[in-house]
Symmetry: C2
Subunit: 348 residues, 2 copies
Amino acid sequence: VGTGLIGGSLGLALRRRGWHVSGTDRDPEQARQALALGVLDAIGDDPEAEIVFVATPAAIVAQVASRILGDRRRPDVVVTDVSGVKTSVVGAVGHARFVGGHPMAGSEQVGLAGADPGLFDGAVWVLTPTPQTDLGAYAVVQDVVNDLGAEPIALTPADHDRLVAVVSHVPHLVAATLMNAASTGAQHDAALLRLAAGGFRDMTRVAAGHPGIWPDVCTDNAPAIVAALDGLLADLAVMRDRVAGADRSGLLEVLARASSARRSLPARAARPDDLAEIRVPVPDREGVLAEITSVAGDLGVNIYDIEIAHSSEGNRGVLVLVVERPLAGALRDSLGKLGYPGSVGVLA
Amino acid sequence: VGTGLIGGSLGLALRRRGWHVSGTDRDPEQARQALALGVLDAIGDDPEAEIVFVATPAAIVAQVASRILGDRRRPDVVVTDVSGVKTSVVGAVGHARFVGGHPMAGSEQVGLAGADPGLFDGAVWVLTPTPQTDLGAYAVVQDVVNDLGAEPIALTPADHDRLVAVVSHVPHLVAATLMNAASTGAQHDAALLRLAAGGFRDMTRVAAGHPGIWPDVCTDNAPAIVAALDGLLADLAVMRDRVAGADRSGLLEVLARASSARRSLPARAARPDDLAEIRVPVPDREGVLAEITSVAGDLGVNIYDIEIAHSSEGNRGVLVLVVERPLAGALRDSLGKLGYPGSVGVLA
């Protein structure tokens, strides 16, 4: 539902992997263009669809998702979304077969014309299960995300929103502010923008993005953004005082720390070959999935695959998690402390 | 003098263009490496050198430049530098044959190992003539900058420092602050840095740079940096209040303005084919060059070539400026208003 930049990219990527993709857009002409561009196999709302991606503007995601989940013809349909703030949407839908999602991928391009089947290659794709989330529904979404070449990572909706405020929303607002300051300055000094070298261009690139989504993002995630902006304002005030006070050692310390941190920022890696399997006997009850995936998220462990092998009798099963081998031991140990002792096996 | 990232890149680029390059470094082993890497033709201080680039740490540029300019064996040597703040250095040297310079090019790399002969291709290279600057010395530096494939642009030292605070120094400090905030947050949430998508990576890339130059930059350019930081803090406080107050139209306005400005940020263009020549009769006296190049800088007009054709008699000459054709008329008109009426001719 929705054939803009993300929806269009999803259609192209899914069809390339052999999925049959039906889709709609509130603008019928755009849906026709999507069909013509190979984003869709068919225009329309297919009641047989296994999974529905809601890629509409954030303001109507909950309404669209709830309508589909309430359709009696679709008792098993799984619905996910791609909006950038999760607490509000996930809370508003509140359904076991809705799995909030946020592909951490974007482009300077806007709309269907920017659709790119490679947009999600290697991107982190956050999924936000809650204690109510159905394990089967979660596994369906995760499988598709894996199939798209992205890396699913589970976080609570609140953790997601707090973290994206720090690494995405506030940086975007800062980029826009820097760009506007330079642009205003350039009205008096035409040379100013000619001095803008690669670093300035890099720092302001995201500000070129379509501004239309930001009122929604800033409203939906206001508490986390305000907290992160307050932190940034305090940090910049310290920096300003160090410059004004010629505090050379203080400046060196903060810049050396940043240099070291930036150099160790993990590159967006391809999916590792070196995977391990953790098998954890679990009770077959609600909430276990969210609990376990949250532990993995807290440890920074990416779950590449997940399934539950139910026992033929009784109310227990075995949860199978496929994770990067170097981190498997740490995750097993953390799960053991939570009362879920498991074993690690190496995948060939 | 100095075979680090910039000095090393200069040596490689100059030698590739047929210059004979001698050089020194305070670390003799690094000078030997520079020789081995093809950065230098010879180690040493060549008294026959036509031009000397001082590419040492900023703190000793003035001392090194003054020593060379005071050498009686070198009555015609031209000296320039590559440091990032100009008022202090240009004032400290105060010599007609010293032309302050600042190539707006850099790299995440550090030191000689990062030297790259293409570092200056298409880069803006600010030159900061003063009323005392010798026209011949200026022309020598400008010719070399042009030969290196960079675009020379003339600004007063003070204008340079004010503008780079806005487009370079403050953005760098902001990048470091964002990186440190994320890094600190990641100590509690290991998932945080995995959510850092391309936008965050772009915004913090410059922070990976070698921190060692920043205490000098921040000290030398403190007034301009503090002023620009104060402006940024005020702008970000407005942004924070708009987010906290759910001021959707205010947020949309500021982000739409930034998006539009970023999209119209000129790409770092190759040197245009479409050049024009302005011929301006000028009195043969000090200060005319700085006055005219400042006008060009204020208009954002790049001067690709400059020469002065002296009259065979009298104390006047004709200044010839080669500029981009679309801007030639505006520059001629501005010079006319200053009392320098000239004519525009088209170059084949």
